[in-house]
């Protein structure tokens, strides 16, 4: 088996044996169960005159609540990716665990790519699995299915992978705690900067709008999150947002357009750059 795959397998094995996967699965099932119960309530809740909500209103409320629930999932994914990736290399360097392995015929680039791959597979599986369960639960409870479920999984998964890539890069030089905290702060700041950029769009102020553009270039998590929102918005919501003009954009839980294609191309370049930087950083690190 190539060293990259051996390292990837070892990374998956570690998270599994340390019961991280079990904890995430159990927590996800609990959240899915509670949210299914909650979404079911939307169909039975009555208004002041004792009538249940019409199907269009159920779909509207469900779509908005699903966005909030998905925000929690994306947050869990981003936090987990940053916290797990932060010490992925640094802790093994500090403890000496990598010493005997690096004395084997294995390249440092293979260690970096293998770890990215192992954790990346887990991020992808978690994004797909949790989205499938939540969408199935919402469908069962209300009959509502978001318009683009596959795109939703891709955007949420890519957001997790972005945090993983940043955490891994930091892990090649900084201690686990430091790297994890920086990745988390960067994620939150990216989210805030995205809102600031949207306010700029609303005000038609290019300078303020550029805050969002630059932050999306540096760390694309916020715009990927906006892509996930777009994938969950029904046409009626989109029409309402569009009719509200540019001010409708200044909302971290709304998206009027999908991420532009050049930006998605940049995301691919960004992932490549992060991986190359991580490899260079680890290769030049003295152990």
């Amino acid at each position: 088996m190539p060293p990259v795959i051996v390292i990837a397998r070892l990374t998956v094995q570690e998270t599994s044996r340390r019961r991280l996967i079990l904890a995430l699965v159990v927590l996800t099932l609990i959240v899915v169960g509670f949210s299914a119960w909650g979404f079911r309530k939307i169909t039975t809740v009555t208004t002041g005159n004792g009538a249940t909500l019409p199907p269009e209103q159920v779909a509207l409320i469900t779509s908005q609540l699903l966005i909030v629930v998905t925000f929690m999932y994306s947050g869990v994914l981003a936090l987990s990716a940053a916290v797990v990736a932060g010490p992925l290399i640094s802790s093994e360097v500090e403890s000496g665990l990598l010493l005997s392995m690096l004395a084997r015929p294995i390249r440092r680039s293979e260690v970096v790519i293998g770890k990215w791959l192992g954790l990346g597979v887990l991020v992808a599986i978690y994004a797909a699995g949790s989205a499938f369960l939540e969408i199935a639960a919402v469908d069962w409870a209300t009959g509502y299915v978001p318009p683009h479920p596959i795109l939703l999984v891709l955007y949420v998964g890519a957001e997790g992978l972005a945090l993983l890539s940043l955490g891994l890069l930091l892990s090649t030089r900084l201690s686990g705690i430091t790297g994890g905290v920086i990745a988390l702060v960067a994620w939150l700041m990216g989210w805030i900067a995205g809102v600031v950029g949207d306010v700029g769009t609303g005000l038609q102020n290019q300078a303020v709008e550029n805050v969002g553009v630059v932050s999306h270039m540096l760390l694309p998590t916020d715009l990927l999150w906006r892509g996930a929102i777009y994938a969950m918005e029904p046409d009626a919501v989109l029409a309402t947002l569009r009719s509200a003009g540019t001010f409708a954009r200044a909302n971290p839980f709304a998206a009027v357009d999908p991420p532009p294609l050049p930006f998605l191309a940049w995301v691919v370049v960004w992932f490549t750059l992060m991986l190359l930087l991580s490899i260079w950083s680890f290769r030049t690190r003295e152990i």
């Binding site: 094995q13 000496g96 005997s100 392995m101 152990i287």
Partner: protein
């Protein structure tokens, strides 16, 4: 990087030429030049911070040299293919706590990489050699420090390496474990494996090494076979009635190790013993016992460090 000097005569296990390493302004290794022949047990001695572990890490490609050149088994350091033929037990030994001992060794077989058909025999043999057969399926996280060091030794042995680096291999072991490691090293030497042994335990080095290099402040201050290094005789004298000034006057008889009631003169030829006793008596000292003995590695080690300090 050019081929090592003397390549035509067969590649030594290790060869370094002016290998140096700086960390900022700190010189960790200042021009290490040495040759370790194949099949030899080579002891690398030195006080803390002398540059021993730095040397091992440089040779294994974990650190980059600031200058100089080095070859392992005839190939420049850092060469991936050469690492197939090398075993390494780090000073800071740590293995995946979530794996069993068997799985850790399987991982090293896979990374080595060894043919899968040979893994079972390799793992069984390595576990048996280090005395961990009974714990093969236990998680490493349940192991004591000594058992983890044994596991590290087992990992260094898989694949019958031609060169093994052991960095303080007995630091966590009890006397029985130390004895076992000496036997393992002798076993490696008997099958032609070169062993590069970093150790603070001089008696251990003295018992197993064919050749020794002593490093201090990043450079080799002495090297040679054990016989070459320990050619002198030490004389231990039980004496009283001498002051510091009197003891200083006896400096011409060799390096003095003042242990209070005993003075040990290293590198003193036996025929000068009567002259030494006469000099002590002339200075007003009372001599109770004179014991000439062969110099131990510890005597020589301390003497070398003292000489080095005086020179610098």
């Amino acid at each position: 990087m050019a081929a090592p000097p003397g390549a035509a005569a067969g590649f030594p296990a290790i060869q370094t030429v002016n290998l140096s390493k700086r960390f900022g302004h700190t010189v960790a290794l200042a021009g290490l030049s040495m040759t370790v022949p194949r099949g030899e047990v080579f002891g690398f001695l030195g006080p803390n911070g002398a540059g021993k572990t730095t040397s091992v890490k440089l040779l294994l490609g974990l650190l980059r040299p600031t200058s100089g050149e080095a070859w392992l088994l005839g190939r420049p350091i850092g060469d991936l293919q050469t690492r197939r033929r090398i075993g390494y037990l780090p000073e800071l030994f740590r293995y995946q706590g979530w794996l069993s001992a068997h799985e850790v060794l399987a991982l090293h077989c896979e990374l080595a990489p060894l043919p899968r058909a040979s893994w079972k025999d390799e793992i069984t043999s390595a576990l048996e050699t280090v005395g961990l057969t009974e714990r093969a399926n236990d998680r490493v996280s349940t192991f004591s420090k000594g058992m983890q060091q044994r596991l590290g030794l087992a990992a260094a042995l898989v694949g019958e390496p031609e060169l093994v680096f052991l960095d303080e291999p007995t630091s966590a072991l009890d006397p029985v474990g130390r004895h076992d490691v000496r036997e393992i090293i002798r076993g490696l030497a008997s099958r032609g494996t070169a062993v590069f042994l970093n150790s603070h335990l001089l008696s251990e080095v003295e018992q197993v090494c064919d050749r020794v290099a002593v490093v201090d402040h990043g450079r080799v201050i002495a090297s040679g076979t054990m016989d070459e290094l320990l050619s002198g005789t030490a004389v231990k004298v039980r004496v009283s009635g001498l002051g510091d000034a009197d003891i200083a006057k006896l400096g011409s008889f060799g390096t003095i190790d003042d242990e209070g009631a005993h003075l040990t003169f290293t590198n003193l030829k036996p025929d000068r013993v009567p002259e030494l006793v006469a000099a002590i008596v002339a200075l007003g000292g009372q001599v109770y016992e004179v014991t000439p003995r062969h110099q131990t590695l510890e005597d020589r080690f301390l003497q070398l460090l003292e000489e080095e300090e005086e020179e610098s």
